[in-house]
Symmetry: D2
Subunit: 316 residues, 4 copies
Amino acid sequence: MVKVLKEEQDRTGIRLLWGTANLFTHPRFAQGAATGCNADVFAYAAAQVKKAMEVTHELGGAGYTFWGGREGYSTLLNTDMKRELDHLAAFLHMAVDYKKKIGFKGQFYIEPKPKEPTKHQYDSDAAACLNFLREYGLIDHFKLNLETNHATLAGHTMQHELEVAAVAGRLGSIDANTGDTLLGWDTDQFPTDIYLAAQVMLTILKAGGFTTGGLNFDAKVRRESFEPEDLFYAHIGAMDAMARGLKIVAAIRQDGRLADFVKHRYASWDSGIGRTIEGGKAGFKELEAYLLKKGEAQTSSSGRQEFLENLINEFI
Amino acid sequence: MVKVLKEEQDRTGIRLLWGTANLFTHPRFAQGAATGCNADVFAYAAAQVKKAMEVTHELGGAGYTFWGGREGYSTLLNTDMKRELDHLAAFLHMAVDYKKKIGFKGQFYIEPKPKEPTKHQYDSDAAACLNFLREYGLIDHFKLNLETNHATLAGHTMQHELEVAAVAGRLGSIDANTGDTLLGWDTDQFPTDIYLAAQVMLTILKAGGFTTGGLNFDAKVRRESFEPEDLFYAHIGAMDAMARGLKIVAAIRQDGRLADFVKHRYASWDSGIGRTIEGGKAGFKELEAYLLKKGEAQTSSSGRQEFLENLINEFI
Amino acid sequence: MVKVLKEEQDRTGIRLLWGTANLFTHPRFAQGAATGCNADVFAYAAAQVKKAMEVTHELGGAGYTFWGGREGYSTLLNTDMKRELDHLAAFLHMAVDYKKKIGFKGQFYIEPKPKEPTKHQYDSDAAACLNFLREYGLIDHFKLNLETNHATLAGHTMQHELEVAAVAGRLGSIDANTGDTLLGWDTDQFPTDIYLAAQVMLTILKAGGFTTGGLNFDAKVRRESFEPEDLFYAHIGAMDAMARGLKIVAAIRQDGRLADFVKHRYASWDSGIGRTIEGGKAGFKELEAYLLKKGEAQTSSSGRQEFLENLINEFI
Amino acid sequence: MVKVLKEEQDRTGIRLLWGTANLFTHPRFAQGAATGCNADVFAYAAAQVKKAMEVTHELGGAGYTFWGGREGYSTLLNTDMKRELDHLAAFLHMAVDYKKKIGFKGQFYIEPKPKEPTKHQYDSDAAACLNFLREYGLIDHFKLNLETNHATLAGHTMQHELEVAAVAGRLGSIDANTGDTLLGWDTDQFPTDIYLAAQVMLTILKAGGFTTGGLNFDAKVRRESFEPEDLFYAHIGAMDAMARGLKIVAAIRQDGRLADFVKHRYASWDSGIGRTIEGGKAGFKELEAYLLKKGEAQTSSSGRQEFLENLINEFI
C-alpha cells in the first residue's frame, strides 16, 4: 500500500501532514492499548505504532499523531491509574527513541480528548496532556493537535485550548472538526462557524502561525448527507469558513485596535510597581508597604467585553 | 479578632485546619487578584494574603489554602493569558518565600475550580493545577484541596480528581461540599451520598490516609432550610455520611476482594514481557519481535465493572 | 419466528411485557420514520409497526412501545417541524385505529428521549410527549415508558420524569437502564445505584404501583465486560438494586415520617384561605383584601432538605 | 411612581412592552409563590400581581409576563408536585379573570426557564409550558416569551424553542439575553452572535413576524464592564446584531433557495401516497398494501446540512 500511496503523492503533489495508528477499534484494545491492563496488548500497540511510524517516515510525513483512543478507564474501581500512566509514558519514550533510531524528523503530536468511547481519557484536555508530558520528561518531544469538538466536550472553548497550548509553546496542529455544544458526544462536523474560524486564527496568528502542522479534516458529513456532492459542499464550506476566519483576523490585526486594547489593559505592568513585580524585585513585605502607603489600589479600567465583541462583528 | 479567636481555640480545643483570604468579593478584584490586569490589585492581594498567612500562623493553622476566586477570565478577547499566569506564579513564589520568612510550617493548598464567577479559572481542575505548578517550579510547595462540586463542574468525578492528585503525590485536603450534576453552578450542598463518601475514602485510604489536611465543610444549607436546626441536620448528616463511607471502605479493604481484583487485573505486568517493559528493557523493536513470534496478544480478562459495582453494594 | 417464541413462552411461562419495532437502524430511516421527509418511508414504517403489533398481540404482549428512534431533526434549516409533527400524530392515530381493529388490549407507550442519534427528538422528555399527545388528541391512548438515561440526557432526574408522568396519570412502564450524568450519550448501563432505585420506587408506590407495564432491562454490559458471566453479574446486580429500592421504600412508607412531613408542609392549604383558594372561591381581589388585612404572609416552615436526605440515609 | 412613569412615557413616546412582578427575591418567596407550600404566600403573590397588572394596564402595557422565579422545587422529597401545579393553574386562571375584569387587553406571556435559582422550575421549556397550559385549559390565554439563555440551559437551541412555540401558535415575544453554552447558569449576556440573530429572525419571519410582543433586553453587562459607556456598547451592539440578523434573513427569504429546498424536501407529501396520508385516507392496512406492492420505499434525497450551512454563510 505504501508504494501506491507514494505514487499517488508523486502524481498529485499532495504531502502527508501526519500519520497515525488505530489503537481503539479492534476488541484487543477494549481496555486500552498503552494503558491497558495487558502487557501483550501494549506490545501489540508498540509493534503497530512502530510500523505506522516507519510508513509515515517513508511517505515523508511532517508529523505523527498519538491520540487517546481507549487510553483511559471505564470505571476507577478496576483501574490502577499510576501504573497505567507509567506505562503510557514508557510507550511514548519508546516512540521518541525509535524516532531517533529511524531518523524521523517529523513532529510528534498528542490529540487531547476527554471521553468517548471511555468514560475518561488520560489526554483529557491540553492542560492534562501538558501535565503528563512535564511529569514524565516528555514535554520537549510533543506538541498538541487540537480539535474543537474535543475542547468543548472537555468544557473548554477551542480558543482556550489553543491559548493553553500556545502559552506553553506546544501549539502544534489543528484537527478542524467541530461539534455541537448542546450534544455530549463527538459529532465530528465540518466547521462552518465564522466566529470559531476567527477565534482559531486569532490565536494561531498571535502565536506566529503554524511552525509545524496545519489544518486537517477528519470530519464526517451528517448521516442524512449521503450523496457524493455532500462531500464537496462539506469540504468546500469548511475550507471557505477557515479562509474567512484567516482574512477576518488579518484585517483585525491590520486594524490594530484589538491588540492595542489588550496591551493597554496591562499597562500598569509596564512601569512602576508592576515592572518591579515582573522584575522579581518585590515580595509580600514590599507590596504591603507600597499598598499601605497608597491606601487603595488604583481602579482598573473596564474589561470592555461588549465593545470587543462588537469590534469582532465589525469584521465579520 | 485574632486574640478572641485564640482564646476560643484555647477554651474549646478546636484547631485551625487552614486559613485563607477572600480575593474575589470586593469590586477591586472584579478582574482578578494575582491574575488581574492591574498591578496595584496584585499588590493589594499580596498585602492581604501576607496578613492572612500571619494570622493563620499565629492561630497554629495546619495549612493555608489559595483558591481561584476570580483568577481567570471572562473573555479571551481582552486577556493576555501568558502574562496572567506569569503573575500568578510570581505571587505564589512570593507566598512560598514569605512562608519561610515567618517560619510557617503549614501545608499550602490550591483548590481547583473550573468556573464561576469567571468563565474560566486557571486552577480549573487537578491536572491544570499540577501542570501550572510543574511549569513554574512550584510543585513541591503545594498540594491540592479538592471539592466534589468543583470536580463535577469540571466534568470529572470527585474520585477522579482525588486519584489524579494522589498519583502525583499531591493529595492534600478535602472540601466536603457536593453539588448536583444536573445543575451547572456551585451549589455547595452538604454531602449525604454514601457512594460519594465511599469513593472519597477509597482513594484516601489507598493513598495512605490524610498526611496533611482533613475534611472541611464550607457547605451551605439550602435557601429553604432557614431554621437553626437545619444547620444541625446538615452537619450531622454530612459527618455521618463521611463516617459511613469510611466504615464501608474499611470493610471493603478488610474483605480484600476489590484490591485483589485490581492487582490480578494487571498481573501480566508482574512477569514476562510486562516486567521487561516496566524494567525499561524493551523498545518498539523488541516488542515487535515478541509479538510477531506470538502472533496475537493474549486475551485480556473482563473488566468486570458490573461485578465490582455489585461488590460495592454489598457493603452499603 | 412467532411460532418458536410462543413455544418458548409456553415452555418457560415467561410473558411479553411489550413489543416494538426498530425504525432507526436501516438507512431508509436516516431522516426519520413517521417524521421523515419521505412519504414512502412513512408507509414502510406503518407496515412494519402493523406487523409488530400483530406479533405482539399474538404473543400476548401486555403493551407496545413507540420510541423516538430518529423522529426528530439534525438541523432546523431543512426541517418543517409542523408538518413532521402532524405526520407523527397521523401515524399514532393509525396505530390506535389498528389496535382497535385487531382487538389488541395492551397499553401503548411512548419512550421519551431527547437526542442521539438525532440532534433533537420530538419525544424529548415526559412534558414534551404529554404536550404532543394532548395537542393531537392522543393523551388517552398512551402512557410513558421512562428511562433514567434518557431523563438525565434531557437534564432531568429520573424521579422528575416519573413524577411528571404520574401527576398526569400517564406513568406506564420503566426502562431500567441508567447512564452517567458526566457523559453526554446514552450509555445504557445496568442500574446499581440504590438511591436511584429508591427514588424510582418512591414515585411508583406513591402512584399506586404499576397498573400497566413493569421494569424492563435493555441495558448493555460495558465493552470491557465481554465474558458470559458478566451478563449474570449485570442482571442480578440490577435486579437486586431494584429490589433493595423497593424494600427501602416499603420501610420508609411504613415509617411514615416522610409522607407526614410532606403532608404537613402543605397544611396551610387544608383550611382557611388555602382551602378557600383550592375550592375556587377566591380571586385576586379577595386575596388582596385578605393580605392587606393581615399585613404579611405567615412564615413558611423550613423545607428541611438536609433532614430529609438524612432520613433516606437511615433506610439505606 | 406610576404618575412619574406616565409623564416620562408622554415626554419620550416610549411605550411599555410588558409589565411583570418580582415574586422571587423576597425571603417569603423562598419556597415559591403560586407553587409555594404556603397559602398565605400565594395570597401575597396574588395581591402583588393584581397591582402589577393594574399598573401595566394604566401605563398602556402591550402585555404582561409571568416567569418562573421560584415556581419549582429544590428537592422532590418535600414536594407535592400535583398540588403545586394545581395551585399554579388556579393562580393563572385568577389572572385571566382579573384581566377581563379590568379590561386589560394586553397579551399574557409565560417565560420558560428550566432552573436557577431552584433545581427545577415548572415552566422549564416551551413544551413543558404548553403541556401545562393545555392540561389546565389556559392555552388560549398565554403565549411564550422566549430567551436564548433559558433555552440553552434547558438543552435546546433558541431556534428550537421558537419553532416549538410557533408551530403551536404561541410565539409571543423575545427576551434577547443570551448565555454561554459552556456555562451552566443564566449569564444574561447581550446577544452579539450574528448566527443566533439570524436563526431567531428566520423563525419569527416564517411565523409571520411579531403579532404581539417584541424584543426586550434585560441583559446585564459583565461585571468587568462597569463603566457607563459599557451600557452603550452593549445595547448598541446587541441591537445592531439583531438588525443584522433581520437583514440577513430578509436577504435569505428574497433569495428563496432555503425555503425552496425545504419545500422540495417534503414534495413526496404533496401528491400520491403522501397526499393520501395527509388527507387522512389511509391506515396501516392500506399503507402495508401500498408498500408490499412497491417493495421498498423510494430513496429520500440528501438532507444537505452542509450545503445549507454554507448557504447561510453566503449571507453573513
